[in-house]
Symmetry: C2
Subunit: 513 residues, 2 copies
């Protein structure tokens, strides 16, 4: 079983001071930043919200096997193809979703929005996916000789975050190496060639620009724009802004940030269902929206009332390209991941007929079981209720957004407290246990050192034309769009840096046997 | 007399909200930032100093007559030539300085350092000046038909600040215009063509790179570096970092920040007086210093004890290029400015024999009088003591650093309280009274609206070889290096944004008759 070298290098106080000063200054100078939490800086100190702080980051780039990194990148386009196929196959999705509608009200509501639009007919065949496939390094515990590979943790089809900051953090670590803040080989494995740049900012911006361009100019002679649909307030705003600024600067695309709750206030549909946006600061102006980029609306908690659902419906009905559409969002449910990754599943072949390519994808699946009454489901229920076997698993809700996973020995208790009818709202997944390593995380002005777990996210951009909603589609753009490493202390078992647990990181690639 | 159009444009609450949100996000994303003051964020909230905030900026680019802007830029190279000539004429400087040594202890001490090095012989003939000539718009109050012109407020030869932020603020205002945060013509004079980009970051970095290159590689095979001599702590650190990062990235120059008080700790002179730097975080490493860039050491308060002076002496004795040398620093005293700008002074011709070019410089001088016993001095003493005439003047100390100017009606009282022997430590200058305008300043999270005064700074870079200390020199590089607009409320009469009074700004050029 692969193990990592001793890492990170030991540092004297002076070395750490130099590293940290260099990091703090570079990060602010380059917008690798977040707005501070109210526990860090209370609202009365900064009522106008002008303060910012270094985004939670690792002091060192975490170790990651080069072979695993390459593997994850090599399947990015196939994942784009797979998920665009799923999102274009309404009949298949319907079957999958229908198993959830009784137990997951959020998915049921999303499906209802889709059905409402379907009845009127969709007016926009173009779809943009800005996906992020998340992996951890896995070595087969039963086979000490096996090479490490990546296993998929989840596939995100909506609001994949940190694409803005990940380009910056890979540049930060490269900078720190260049200015001598890290010991060089042979004292350390860090080298210029070991630090891959993340192209997520230009990659995601290019994806949006391609969609904007494919939409074309307004037939009514309006100025066009891309809407960033956002939460408000948003501490992680710079992550989004970096992509927006490149979209403005490199492609000349006008952009606006629209809070999720304001859709009905600031947009309307014209007779052709063109989405027309009037900014609150210039209510007499009208912009035709080419693309709605969702950085909000992925979590049930954001839908407070019918008006929020009506806003979502308005966007879905519109002629704007959606990133993502509701079908694409639903394709990213854990239920779909589970259906694909259930051993001997026939589904992968349906969407990706090329056997060689499907086989490569398959290698990245961790065994996932349904918690329903199927044969595989019955097996899962046994594994999950038995405290001895449960410790190797994680129980995940099928919903998006994270934050509700149940781990290992907590699973049997959780199931006891949960009505059995609700069990199928979850999937059971074997824990991926990556080689141990340590790092130092700088967050909220504090250093935390210790064991860490890394998740590699590979961004993908895919623009496709859905001809008939029956699986037939034309792919116009399909490319890998950079990477993210997210690193959290072993103590906490949730990812999500902005939610308050982890940090953004970059990869220090190492060759393992 | 020229007046400005109504400005800035009125804004609704929604318009200002959009402008401010756009400004706050862009500024942090691009490092247009400062560390917050301790009155804004107390030290216990942020002991590690990880917070930052938008640098004090104007919401709108301030109005500036295009003809004045062009005038100030057009004389930048001549000012470089003039001040490099002064700094190379030790005999002349000596006369000027000797009038001050009895009354200005700081200048006396600097001169002593120079003499000590002179006795041993200087070992580095190359000099780098990164200058900033500061101007205000002036119209002759006696002549309503006169065109506006710029008059020099002061000429900075050491530690000219805000070159890092001024490039960013001109880009910020351009961005705000591009995203529609400003009303366009005819509602406002703001247009793309009216917003000149400031090239101060690349300009200053290129100046340093040229000096570094001219120094050449280490003959002892050491790695070379540029030292940024800095105050510690430094709230305005990002201003300096932006220049440093471009120097690193575009020219591959290694840089280190050395606190002023640590010169003797971290540097030494070798047998050839090469300046050798060992970073505290890597004490076994040695770098040969090609250039010492002073962002500290300009103010008497920084020299706390003999050790600080010994550190300054060590740098001056060394073979490193100084930016600036002590002679160059002394060339920037207000006494020199006064000697040049005293009506009918013969000195300008000595340093700039070309009459046409000297005439252009002369146009930028405001009348300046000595406060000594010369004929012009006696006239000045009368003007300054009489409350009726004093109101048109400002009394300035000859020292660098700002903060001790005495304005208008306060002058007679100040002179009464000051021993007459100390009067010659000041110069008397006619106030330059620019056309009135208003703006909104955003600083420390608060908006302040009202009448403002703008100072235009033009950066210049000059690299020269001083052949003999007697005025003979060879100029290797001489170029204009971007601009800065600094804007303060009319209520306060001091500049210096970092010191807590004003803001960084950019120019909105207008055509005036």
């Amino acid at each position: 079983m692969a193990t990592y070298p001793e890492y990170p290098p030991d540092q004297s106080d002076e070395e750490q001071k130099y590293l940290l000063t260099s990091l703090k200054d570079w990060s602010i100078a380059h917008g690798l930043a977040v707005r501070p939490t109210t526990t860090y800086v209370s609202a009365e100190i900064d009522p106008s919200g002008a303060l910012a702080t270094t985004a939670p980051v690792t002091l060192f780039p975490s170790l990651f096997p080069r072979v695993c990194f390459e593997q994850a990148k090599s399947v990015a386009q196939d994942y784009n193809e797979l998920y665009s196929a799923i999102a274009s196959d309404e009949e298949w999705l319907k079957q999958t979703v229908e198993e959830l509608v009784d137990i997951d009200d959020f998915i049921a509501q999303l499906w209802k929005v889709h059905l409402a639009v379907k009845q009127q007919g969709y007016v926009q065949p173009l779809n943009l996916g800005l996906f992020r496939s998340d992996y951890m390094v896995h070595t087969d515990p039963a086979n000490a000789q096996s090479r490490p590979c990546v296993k998929q943790v989840e596939f995100n089809t909506i609001a994949s975050s940190f694409g803005g900051l990940s380009t910056q953090v890979s540049a930060l670590h490269k900078y720190l190496f260049t200015v001598g803040a890290y010991p060089e080989a042979p004292l350390s494995v860090i080298s210029d060639a070991a630090l891959p740049e993340s192209t997520s900012v230009p990659g995601l911006a290019m994806g949006m620009a391609k969609a904007h361009e494919a939409y074309g100019p307004s037939k009514d002679g309006l100025a066009t724009c891309v809407l960033f649909l956002v939460q408000d307030p948003e501490r992680n705003v710079f992550d989004q802004r970096h992509v927006e600024y490149v979209l403005n600067k490199n492609y000349g695309v006008k952009t606006f940030r629209l809070p999720f709750g304001k859709v009905l206030n600031d947009t309307k549909l014209d007779a052709d269902r063109k989405l027309v946006y009037s900014p609150p600061h210039a209510p007499s102006k009208q912009f035709e929206v080419t693309l709605v980029y969702f950085r909000a609306g992925y979590s049930p908690a954001e839908y407070q009332n019918q008006r929020d659902w009506d806003g979502r419906l308005q966007i879905e009905r519109s002629a704007a390209i959606k990133c993502p559409s509701i079908l694409t969002q639903l394709a990213g449910t854990k239920k779909v991941q589970q259906v694909l990754a259930t051993p001997h599943s026939p589904h992968l072949k349906r969407f990706l007929p090329d056997e060689a390519r499907a086989a490569e994808l398959l290698k990245t699946f961790a065994p996932i079981y349904p918690m329903d009454k199927s044969e595989a489901g019955e097996e899962a229920r046994k594994l999950a209720q038995d405290p001895e076997t449960a410790v190797r698993y994680v129980l995940k809700p099928q919903r998006e957004g994270g934050g509700n996973n149940v781990y290992r020995k907590a699973i049997p208790r959780f199931l006891k407290d949960t009505p059995e009818t609700h069990w199928p709202a979850h999937i059971l997944m074997e824990m991926i246990e990556p080689p141990a390593q340590s790092n130092v995380i700088f967050r909220n002005g504090e250093l935390q050192k210790g064991g860490v777990i890394c998740e590699l996210g590979i961004y993908g951009a895919c623009l496709w034309r859905d001809e008939d909603g029956k699986g037939k589609r034309e792919i116009l753009e399909n490319f890998e769009a950079g990477y993210l490493l997210r690193t959290k202390g072993c103590g906490s078992e949730e990812g999500g840096v902005a939610a308050g647990f982890g940090s953004v990181d970059s990869a220090c690639l190492i060759d393992v046997d």
